[in-house]
């Protein structure tokens, strides 16, 4: 009977570990998608013999978005290969928090600027640009959605890392 509970416990541990790896892989994929979609977004529009080219480098906020998501991508890839018994897992909890903060800050900055681009700011006299470069705007929206998915996955990953480092005995309410 002891043997069956031991097998049960190791099965639960294996499931949790696989779940964590799948989550990390999904977050890696989402952040990578955000980077790629944002980097490949550019559109050239011409009106009144004036050529306007919209690239992601036009806005500082989009550049920061690409950099932050690239950092998260690389970090997720490296953590995927961290062995289970390594002592670095406690450090991974804090780093996961830092990465989540990077993701939220880059997403909210990109969203703030994209919102001005879409709706404009009448009080400051800023006209919306999405009417002139709709394909560019759509791709930016896609990149932001991928970034949001990466953020949500990273919040779950943060809770997962915290759970895997904190002794489960604690959660059983001594």
């Amino acid at each position: 009977k002891l043997k069956s509970t031991l097998i049960e416990r190791s099965m639960v541990k294996l499931t949790k570990r696989i779940g964590g790896l799948v989550l990390r892989l999904a977050a890696f994929g989402a952040a990578l998608a955000a980077v790629v979609v944002m980097v490949t977004s550019h559109e050239r529009a011409s009106f009144f013999a004036v050529s306007l080219e919209a690239k992601y480098t036009d806005m500082a906020s989009f550049k920061y978005f690409v950099i932050a998501n690239a950092v998260v991508t690389v970090y997720s890839f490296l953590v995927l290969f961290l062995p289970k018994e390594s002592l670095l897992w406690k450090f991974v909890v804090v780093l996961d928090l830092v990465m989540t903060m990077l993701l939220t800050s880059s997403l909210s900055a990109a969203l703030a600027v994209a919102q001005v681009g879409k709706k404009g700011n009448a009080n400051a006299g800023w006209l919306p640009i999405c009417g002139q470069v709709p394909k560019f705007c759509d791709q930016i929206t896609g990149a932001l959605i991928a970034g949001f998915v990466a953020l949500v996955l990273y919040v779950f990953l943060l809770l997962y890392s915290l759970h895997s480092v904190v002794d489960p005995f604690l959660l059983q309410k001594s």
Partner: protein, 200 residues
């Protein structure tokens, strides 16, 4: 035990003091950011056109409500400073509550969530403010700061205070997590008689 030190099982008194100090500074920083940005307003009368010899003046106001990013900034900073106030009150007045493991865990998780919230708010505001300060040639957005210098200065001060709050909240989260780990290790390695060392 009369007067003296209050011993809490959630870590040594040193980490308790460090955490309290950090929380007080984070509370002050985020509250300052929220207050300065919410009072940010500048009115200017500008000459927009001249018809003959008659200048036509228009009164333009720059308010923080004009920009959604700044509205989010104020709301998020108010929320985070309220969270810090609550945690300070919890730490000072009810230290015994932290002895149960689930409370330390929820405090750590709440600290982490609020750290991400304030970092999002500060960053959104700083990038929108950068567009306002330097303009954007590609999108043909003019800069605002050359005409509303006081508005921009106050906004910059609020954003700096918010970034100080971000760093402080990150430290607060780190200390909360370390207290959680310390407490969980203590409970797992020692017998349940660890509760006998509590101060009534």
């Amino acid at each position: 035990m009369a007067g003296g030190k209050i011993v809490v099982a959630g870590g040594t008194t040193k980490s308790w003091k460090v955490l309290l100090g950090l929380r007080i500074f984070a509370f002050m920083a985020t509250l300052a950011a929220a207050i300065v940005m919410s009072l940010n307003k500048e009115t200017k009368t500008l000459v927009v056109a001249t018809i003959g010899t008659l200048p036509i003046k228009a009164t333009i106001t720059a308010k923080f409500q004009h920009t959604p990013a700044f509205v989010f900034f104020v709301i998020a900073n108010v929320m985070v400073s309220f969270h810090n106030l609550l945690m300070i009150a919890l730490q000072i007045f009810i230290p015994k509550l932290e002895q149960k493991g689930l409370h330390l865990l929820s405090i750590a998780i709440l600290d982490m969530l609020n750290a991400t919230l304030v970092s999002a708010a500060a960053n959104a505001a700083v990038f929108v403010a950068e567009v306002g300060k330097n303009g954007n040639k590609h999108a043909k957005w003019n800069k605002v700061c050359d005409r509303f210098a006081t508005y921009c200065d106050h906004g910059a001060g609020a954003i700096i205070a918010a970034f100080a709050g971000v760093i402080l909240m990150l430290l607060v989260s780190a200390v909360s997590i370390s207290r959680l780990l310390f407490n969980s290790n203590k409970f797992s390695s020692t017998a349940p008689s660890a509760t006998a060392t509590d101060v009534p």
